[in-house]
Symmetry: C2
Subunit: 294 residues, 2 copies
């Protein structure tokens, strides 16, 4: 049976590009049949399909270099607590403006995913100050609104424009040239990893914890536990606990392998300084060179 991979759909999203990059790599390494991609209406539904066993893997955006964290991915992982991260992929992001007229001044509105609008905001303000920005559920969904008159444009990937046979009005409109997004490939906890880590890839461990309420400086102790063992934290992100304003869950990416004795001793010590502690696994990080070309 082919490997099934859930992602935010429809075809043409950046999550699909990340899923394709992973699928190509899986096919090359294992000589197994090409995985089946399963587009889902939302990031949360993609993760839920893996948690419920409908799909083997799910590809979720975690963080963009400009717009920051993708909250729904972190919140869903914390809530479901049955998923394990198997792989991180960094994908360069190149946004294009799709419009049926080459006259940019005739554009009255630009549709896209809120993250993509955020990643192009300076370009939009300078080039299309007259245009209203309209957030929609995915970059691909935005293409549905592009009109014949050229008054409505969309921001999406080049692949999406090609798939839906829509003209490109301008390439590379993202504000920062090194715009990229990190994705996690997750499976159910404890299932076999479809591919083993390429040698030499850096290994990360992701975990999250809540802290006892009303203890001043409570975050200091967890950070000190890692620092004492020379475990570098490449990222720390707070999310609301959803109980009351001012209570948080902290998500941490550590540059070390969970299966080392020093990491295990850090976890032992962490349990006595945190309220709830959830470990999402150790995994290698792989950079995808260049945007996927269909």
């Amino acid at each position: 049976m082919s490997l099934s991979i859930a992602h935010l759909g429809p075809a043409g999203t950046y999550a699909e590009q990340a899923a394709i990059a992973y699928a190509d790599w899986y096919t090359q390494l294992t000589q197994q049949p090409t995985p089946i991609l399963c587009p889902c209406p939302s990031i949360a539904q993609a993760l839920q399909s893996t948690a419920s066993g409908d799909t083997k893997l799910s590809v979720s955006p975690v963080e963009n270099s400009i717009e920051g964290s993708v909250s729904i991915t972190l919140d869903t992982l914390w809530q479901l607590d049955s998923l394990q991260i198997r792989q991180a992929l960094v994908l360069p992001i190149e946004h294009i403006l799709v419009a049926k007229s080459q006259q940019l001044q005739s554009i009255q509105a630009v549709y896209s995913h809120p993250q993509a609008l955020g990643q192009c905001q300076t370009w939009l303000q300078k080039t299309l100050p007259q245009a209203t920005l309209v957030p929609v559920s995915s970059t691909t969904d935005a293409l549905n609104y592009v009109d014949e008159e050229g008054s409505i444009a969309a921001i999406a990937s080049e692949r999406a424009a090609q798939l839906y046979q829509l003209p490109i009005a301008q390439r590379s409109i993202q504000d920062h040239p090194d715009n990229c997004t990190r994705f996690w490939i997750v499976s159910q906890k404890g299932t076999p990893n479809p591919i083993s880590a390429p040698e030499g890839s850096p290994v990360y461990t992701s975990l999250a914890f809540s802290l006892p309420a009303n203890v001043p400086g409570a975050l200091l102790q967890p950070l000190k536990i890692f620092n004492d063992r020379h475990i570098n934290l490449s990222r720390i992100e707070s999310r609301p606990s959803k109980r009351s304003l001012g209570e948080y869950v902290f998500f941490v990416d550590a540059e070390a392998d969970l299966h080392t004795s020093f990491f295990q001793s850090a976890l032992d010590e962490l349990t006595s300084h945190t309220e709830v502690l959830k470990v999402f696994g150790s995994y290698p990080l792989v950079q995808v060179a260049g945007t996927y070309e269909s």
Copy 2:
């Protein structure tokens, strides 16, 4: 001349409710004319109008108890670096479902601001599993899509439904009963404060800093500086530096007054452990009791 207050518009948004609460309070305390509210198309444009002197104050959402940080407010404050926080307001948020039919099963799509959709996601999944969720630029904007047939609903505030004379299909649909949002009222740096702090309100100081690149454990030192002086941090939030993936700006809310000698000594020490340090001022926090009733 009346005090001008910018906020995310149009009339009926929660940011407008926060602006009205502040304006009422200002009028009571100062006996000055009622402030003029200036609705803006985006949160960033509201803040920019204050930075450029077109408005005296701006009311911006900072954080919701369920959906977390409002990134654009943090990013814009960091970028502009000319604004000062004068006041924090916590507003309880009650979402209502607006639809022209009382038959919930006929609803095919629900429009709202992404934060509001996030705050009602469990209720939506249980009650309206058939409905597509469509993010738009504000809760009030969503009301434009509500149709006569009752197939398109919107999530907004009760005040917005009243303003636009639309029927309420269901009240209190937010997933968590204590859903609330914290707003900041900001002015240009160094301008006189329109109202002085009510006695006994807790005082916070907000600041943000970037850290030298590739220094393992670099965040530990700033946290330790506050902890050594018994300054509790009620919140720490990371945002991408927008230079490269893995570089962050940290936003911190400290439960202490900037104008104390121990805070000044903390700032002195912080400058040698941070790359860029920006201080957004000290301000009191006020809870607004109950939703604004028009």
